[in-house]
């Protein structure tokens, strides 16, 4: 297995775990929130911040020249 694949798998696994947590958060918001509360707003805020951070991580990792890794 080459280095690039190992790095991609590690980041992939962490991302999947995170996605699981994000979905659990959403489940709680839509199942247990009471009418008129701030849970849905918080979910929207978390989504916006997360997208921003994911873009930032993607930008960070895009600096790697994957083709040189073996």
């Amino acid at each position: 297995m080459n280095q690039a694949l190992v790095i991609k798998i590690i980041f992939g696994i962490f991302s999947l775990f995170w996605l699981g947590g994000f979905l659990i958060y959403g489940y709680h918001v839509f199942s247990y929130g009471v009418p008129g509360d701030a849970t849905k707003k918080s979910f929207l805020l978390l989504s916006i911040i997360s997208v921003f951070l994911i873009l930032l991580i993607t930008f960070g990792l895009s600096g790697i020249d994957w083709s040189t890794l073996r």
Binding site: I24, V34, L45, L46, I57, G60, I64, L69
Partner: protein, 193 residues
């Protein structure tokens, strides 16, 4: 007392009767709710400082290690953000709903750890409040202890804003409820005669 925006016609909990009116929705004090985000801010600050330090020391000088470091630190912040929001949600979903018939206590102790108690206002015997320490006294939050008659367990709700006004509201609601029930009982008795 800090109350949520209450719409009398809205159903707030599953066992709410059609004629049951919500008087107040009580949550934890905003200082308690903000704690996870304060911790998150400090964590982000530490992560950024660590990255800057590694960069300064030349530990991540080449493109590869720099990109990997950015990826790892980014993932750390992503996880920390989710964790903070989850901590906030667990505190935020801890709700006390006072209606003209019941005191509904929703305890969210964790993800997938949730308990809902519906107390009849007539079973409430005493409501005690306690503000402990400098921070609680200055910012006006504390805990309330609802003692009930019979086998129903006592309930403690901590980190609540203005516990004394909530105590008053619960006792007032109880008084009105008991008087109303007594009136109905006496009407039934007189109708039977």
């Amino acid at each position: 007392m800090k109350r949520g925006a209450v719409n009398e016609s809205t159903k707030y909990f599953e066992s709410q009767d059609p004629d049951e009116k919500v008087i107040a929705i009580v949550r934890k004090h905003s200082l308690v709710l903000m704690t996870p985000f304060v911790v998150l801010s400090l964590f982000i600050l530490v992560v950024i400082t660590l990255y800057a330090l590694l960069d300064y020391l030349g530990a991540i000088s080449n493109t590869f290690s720099n990109s990997i470091a950015r990826g790892i630190f980014g993932l750390l912040i992503l996880y920390a953000t989710l964790y903070s929001f989850t901590s906030w949600l667990i505190k935020y979903l801890d709700i006390l709903i006072l209606t003209n018939k019941h005191l509904v206590i929703i305890r969210q102790d964790g993800l997938f750890m949730r308990g809902v108690s519906v107390l009849d206002l007539g079973t409430i015997q005493d409501v005690a409040t306690k503000q402990h320490g400098f921070i609680q006294t200055i910012f006006g939050f504390g805990k309330i202890d609802v003692q009930t008659a019979g086998e129903a367990p006592n309930f403690v709700y901590s980190g609540v804003a203005n516990p004394i006004s909530i105590q008053d509201a619960i006792m007032d609601a109880k008084e009105i409820y008991v008087k109303h029930n007594l009136k109905i009982s006496s009407e039934i008795v007189s109708a039977k005669r």
